[in-house]
């Protein structure tokens, strides 16, 4: 893989003051969010440090992908404020929202490639839609991104001809093609074989450092998540259960964080779905 100028990451470079992270690319303040009567977040506050890989983990249904939806402006909170680079996301509409999104890239869980376009055209899609660049320049840009993800030779293939890992890499190239400031990854490791997973882990880390991005990775794969994280948030019960560097999360004494990190089947997150007493249920008609 040829990712130029890759440099080692120094997690200690994240400056944390008593009020929070000093240089945040995303700032979430006092956010409430829910679907109908179900509240997902209650007074959620967090900050995503600039230029780092931030991993957001938590049990299924805790709202990790919902948080990405709010950062991307696709979901609106009931209360609170989300800022991207100092600009309010949740109040932005129409052209203002699209202007913010042009500075973001997103890798969806199932890649979300446009099925009627080839690999090449999928990556060229944002360039064709957003810019007036001539075809020759678009071709060069697309081939450069494909070279980075190792799929230049697959540029003519249709999405249906790609494996899960290849689709994820094409989607990653598409997310990068507009040179965004922030890239969000929604469960990038789900359903991948160990080799593909290793490739994606390496790409996230190296692209972040080489291109000077800020990355937000939502995952529940603890090992892979912690291996690339400069900073970690653990979400649960509608708020942040724990945050810090990977080392500090591994040392956490919080029972819920420990249950998640160690993958314990029972604990603060119960094994049994709430139900009447077992004996009572068996005796009833």
């Amino acid at each position: 893989m040829n990712v130029p100028n890759s440099k080692p990451v120094d997690p200690d470079a994240i400056s944390i003051s008593p009020g929070g992270i000093d240089d945040a690319v995303i700032q979430v303040d006092g956010v409430d969010f829910g679907f109908d009567r179900r509240l997902i977040f209650k007074n959620l506050s967090l900050a995503i440090p600039r230029g780092k890989v931030t991993v957001i983990m938590g049990p299924s249904g805790c709202g990790k992908s919902t948080l990405l939806g709010m950062i991307g402006g696709r979901l609106k909170p009931r209360r609170g404020k989300l800022e991207f680079d100092g600009r309010c996301i949740n109040k932005a509409r129409g052209r203002k929202l699209y202007a913010l999104r042009r500075e973001m890239g997103m890798l969806f869980q199932n890649s979300a490639l446009l099925t009627d376009l080839s690999t090449f055209e999928n990556i060229a899609f944002p360039l064709r839609e957003q810019t007036q660049l001539p075809d020759e320049i678009i071709r060069l840009l697309v081939l450069m991104k494909l070279e980075i993800v190792g799929l230049r030779g697959a540029h003519q293939l249709m999405p249906s001809e790609l494996s899960g890992g290849m689709s994820r890499r094409v989607a990653l190239a598409r997310a990068m093609v507009m040179d965004p400031k922030l890239v969000m990854y929604d469960e990038p490791f789900v359903g991948l074989d160990p080799i593909s997973m290793g490739v994606i882990v390496k790409l996230i880390r190296e692209l972040n450092d080489a291109l000077g991005l800020s990355s937000v990775v939502v995952t529940h794969d603890v090992q892979e998540g912690l291996s690339i994280a400069d900073y970690v948030y653990i979400l649960g019960n509608g708020s942040v259960l724990g945050h810090g560097t990977a080392e500090s999360i591994l040392r956490s004494e919080d029972p819920m964080v420990r249950q998640f990190i160690l993958g314990l089947p029972d604990g603060p997150v119960p094994y049994q779905y709430p139900a009447p007493p077992y004996a009572e249920d068996l005796r009833s008609d």
């Binding site: 199932n110 899609f125 839609e129 957003q130």
Partner: protein, 261 residues
């Protein structure tokens, strides 16, 4: 009683929610339809997908409908020694009613269901969300070109249906039953008026095209992102579009050919 009130309340809320979704869909779609006129190649691609690929079913159905009309028409007309008017009767029936209506029903089944399934699956596989995140307006890029394609394709398909239908009836009337070739065409030429018959049929087809495509796109865009959700949305498209066409046809016919105007 309380149960009845609860059900009534739930139905009312559901209706209000549906109306709200409809409004949220119509306004950006209308704006998208204006914006996409700057990119006609997107509309042409969809005209191929929605219109050209529907031609086979329209041609085959039109041909057989025309043959049946020729057969039934000849049997009825020959009883009163008026078989010379077969061409006129078939042409009026096809251009005024059967052309637009049967084409619309076939179009709803062929193109409407395909549009709903396509848009529904695009939502289910997050392709629409991906477009939004790429700052691409899906109403302009996805909805509007398909809407234009439906409106453009329907009158052309209905005209094709009528044309092939007339030929089918000619084959039966002239070829099978021996009606005079010249009389078959000359009664048609003398009796069919462009504005009264042809133009009204075209207007109907435009309206049917808009209604079918609108329903198909709305159902696809609002389908639950599951296989069951897309399946139900596709069924709703065919049922709602077909019933809307039949009801609307009565209203339009009354307005165009007497009764309500």
């Amino acid at each position: 009683m309380i149960s009845f009130i609860l059900k009534l309340g739930a139905r009312t809320l559901s209706l209000v929610s549906w109306l709200g979704k409809g409004a949220l869909f119509i306004f950006p779609s209308a704006l998208g339809m204006l914006s996409v006129l700057r990119r006609p190649q997107l509309i042409v691609q969809q005209v191929y997908s929605v219109g050209v690929l529907s031609m086979m079913i329209i041609v085959v159905a039109g041909f057989f409908v025309g043959m049946v009309l020729g057969l039934q028409g000849y049997i009825q007309l020959s009883a009163i020694k008026a078989e010379a008017n077969l061409g006129l009767g078939v042409a009026l029936t096809l251009s005024r009613e059967l052309g637009p209506v049967v084409t619309a029903l076939l179009f709803a089944g062929r193109a409407g269901s395909a549009l709903t399934a396509e848009i529904g699956l695009m939502r289910a596989t997050e392709q629409i969300a991906a477009m939004e995140m790429m700052a691409v307006n899906p109403y302009v890029r996805v909805i509007a070109p398909r809407f234009w394609a439906g409106i453009i394709s329907m009158p052309l398909l209905a005209a094709l249906f009528s044309l092939v239908g007339v030929y089918g009836s000619w084959l039966v009337g002239v070829g099978q039953f021996g009606i005079d070739h010249g009389i078959f065409w000359s009664t048609m030429q003398a009796g069919v008026e462009f504005q009264e018959d042809i133009l009204n049929g075209i207007i109907k087809s435009f309206i049917f095209g808009g209604v079918i495509t609108g329903i198909a796109l709305f159902e696809g865009y609002n389908a639950r992102p599951t296989s069951d959700g897309v399946s139900r949305a596709t069924t709703r498209t065919v049922v709602n579009a077909s019933l809307s066409i039949l009801a609307l046809d009565y209203v339009l016919t009354s307005l165009m050919f007497g009764g309500l105007n």
